[in-house]
């Protein structure tokens, strides 16, 4: 049987509007990367291309190719517009 992990995804700005969620917990297959999680999300929500986004795992910037571990907090970061 395929092994799975649970992660939380936090949404901000346009992604929060698109998903209508601040955060959600999902179950995915073990070995998934940030990129593959996003590919799953765009089958559910109307989201922009991942090339426009940065990725943070557990409150640190990370590569979209990073493998996600059980219990990780994942955030996809739209282009920032502070100031």
């Amino acid at each position: 049987m395929e092994q799975t992990i649970q992660i939380s995804i936090h949404y901000f700005a346009g992604l929060r509007d698109a998903t209508k969620k601040d955060l959600e917990t999902i179950t995915i297959r073990k070995g998934a990367t940030a990129e593959s999680v996003y590919q799953h999300l765009i089958t559910i929500y109307n989201l922009p291309d991942i090339k426009q986004l940065k990725v943070a795992i557990n409150d640190s910037f990370a590569s979209q190719h990073t493998e996600i571990m059980d219990g990780d907090k994942l955030v996809f970061i739209p282009p920032v517009t502070g100031g």
Binding site: F12, G14, D17, A56, P79, V80, T81, G82, G83
Partner: protein, 139 residues
């Protein structure tokens, strides 16, 4: 201790520690980013700022540290407000003390430029028309 802060309160420059911290500084530079009433031809009534606070504080603190390393300055501070802001409200304040004006100006400019491109804060413009839009990329 980090000198980068996120707040939901009104930023009042008078409440920020503005006293020359070491009396070694002959220059103090302050930048304030203020909500204006128009952008790209649209009339703006207010801005909503949203923030990924854990990473914003981490990245903002890195920027303050970089400014202290890169420039000959004695003190650097930045606070960014989030939530709903009205036209005329201060959204961000940068404060730098240095021995001389040149590095004081440069460090102040460096901090606000880096904050606008690196710190995960987003603003949504609310227009007179009733519509609203998340801005795309640092302006």
């Amino acid at each position: 201790m980090s000198n980068f802060f996120i707040t939901q309160e009104v930023i009042n420059l008078n409440l920020i520690v503005t006293e020359n911290p070491d009396h070694q500084s002959g220059a103090k530079s302050v930048f304030e980013g203020i909500v204006r009433d128009c952008n790209l031809g649209k009339s703006v009534t207010s801005l909503e700022y949203q923030c990924y606070e854990e990473l914003a504080v981490k990245e903002g603190s890195l920027i303050i540290g970089e400014a202290l390393s890169k420039f000959d300055i004695n003190y650097a501070y930045c606070v960014h407000r989030i939530g709903l802001l009205n036209v005329g409200d201060t959204a961000v304040t940068v404060l730098v003390y240095a021995g001389h004006r040149d590095d004081s100006f440069k460090a102040c400019r460096f901090i606000i430029d880096e904050v606008k491109t690196r710190v995960p804060i987003w603003k949504k413009e609310l227009y007179v028309s009733g519509k609203s839009d998340w801005l795309q990329g640092a302006g």
